[in-house]
């Protein structure tokens, strides 16, 4: 589907926080001059079409006592799918991207404890025989992520 102007307004608004009220979609719909039914129908349609990959709370593992870590691997092309299956099988792998570099697989681990990062990365190394480089954040220079739709 191609989002129309109303869909784009909804996408821009829905990247901001949803109000914590009994009828939050009705509140957002009122802000946007839409009906609640229209807003919910458009959200469901955009989710089904994968324009929205997920709608819900964004959790901070670190605030729960856990940790995040960006990791990278140099995976030989011939083994790529096999390694990918092994990496993605770990529920700690929150997202994973193929990138144009010798280090061609980049994923984020999100674990409930700080120790979980090393344990998961070590397990992936043992299962694949490929080094898992670890790039934990030392400083964050910008918080929040918005894409203008």
């Amino acid at each position: 589907m191609t989002p129309d102007a109303t869909d784009r307004r909804i996408l821009n608004r829905m990247q901001e926080d949803l109000p914590l009220t009994a009828h939050p979609y009705a509140d957002v719909a009122a802000e946007l001059g839409l009906t609640e039914d229209d807003l919910l129908a458009r959200l469901a349609r955009m989710k089904a079409a994968r324009l929205i990959t997920r709608f819900g709370p964004f959790f901070d593992a670190a605030a729960m006592g856990g940790a995040f870590c960006l990791c990278a691997m140099a995976v030989p092309e011939a083994e790529f799918d096999t390694v990918l299956t092994k990496v993605n099988a770990h529920p700690e792998v929150a997202h994973n991207y193929e990138r144009t570099h010798r280090l061609n697989m980049w994923f984020v681990l999100a674990t409930e404890t700080p120790q979980g990062i090393a344990a998961t990365a070590d397990a992936i190394e043992a299962e694949t025989g490929i080094a898992v480089l670890r790039f934990p954040k030392l400083q964050e220079f910008f918080i929040g992520f918005r894409v203008a739709a």
Binding site: P3, L11, Q15, E16, D17, L18, L20, A22, H23, P24, Y25, A26, L40, L43, A49, R50, L51, I52, T53, R54, F55, G56, P57, F58, F59, D60, A61, A63, M64, G65, L70, L84, N88, P91, A94, H95, Y97, E98, R99, T100, H101, R102, L103, M105, W106, F107, A110, E112, L133, R134, F135, P136, K137, L138, Q139, E140, F141, F142, F145, V147
Partner: protein
């Protein structure tokens, strides 16, 4: 730390919030919790930063932002705090972090995500960052994402 009820709330919402008129009432019913208690606990989790926000995760590719570049820079450690903040403040940079180098494979310590409709747009933005960093930068690269291999967000393990 979070208690067992918070864990159940997080687990119930990690797939997403239901797209129904009263989504929190639905989650409360699923958890057999009174809705006011659920709302109070969500508010507390937000206040503590465990929940950053309740929002949509857009798919850049489907929005026409098909070029996604992770620009990486080898920046003088003495100037990283100041220069990182300035790169992070650029409107087109969506994430910006200092991360450790992994020599010899990886000399870069500043990571800035840049999105655009095509690679020319991303390259132009990379040029702006290069100009800002000037001689404090000893080398840089750009890694385009060619495929989303997984995107699920945090998953809590089942506790036994």
């Amino acid at each position: 730390m979070i208690d067992e009820t918070d864990r159940r709330i997080i687990a119930a919402m990690q797939e997403g919030l239901p797209l129904v008129p009263a989504p929190f009432a639905r989650v409360a019913a699923d958890l057999a919790l009174p809705e006011p208690e659920l709302m109070e606990r969500i508010a507390a989790l937000k206040a503590r930063g465990v929940i950053r926000r309740i929002a949509a995760a857009p798919n850049h590719y489907k929005l026409g932002l098909t070029s996604n570049g992770m620009t990486v820079w080898d920046v003088d450690d003495a100037r990283i705090a100041d220069l990182g903040a300035r790169v992070g403040a650029l409107a087109f940079v969506t994430h910006c972090y200092e991360r450790p180098r992994a020599r010899p494979d990886w000399p870069y310590n500043l990571f800035a995500m840049v999105h655009g409709a095509d690679r020319d747009e991303v390259e132009a933005k990379r040029g702006e960052i290069a100009a800002l960093l000037g001689t404090a930068c000893r080398g840089h690269d750009i890694l385009y994402s060619t495929r989303i291999l997984k995107k699920t967000g945090l998953r809590l393990k089942e506790r036994t």
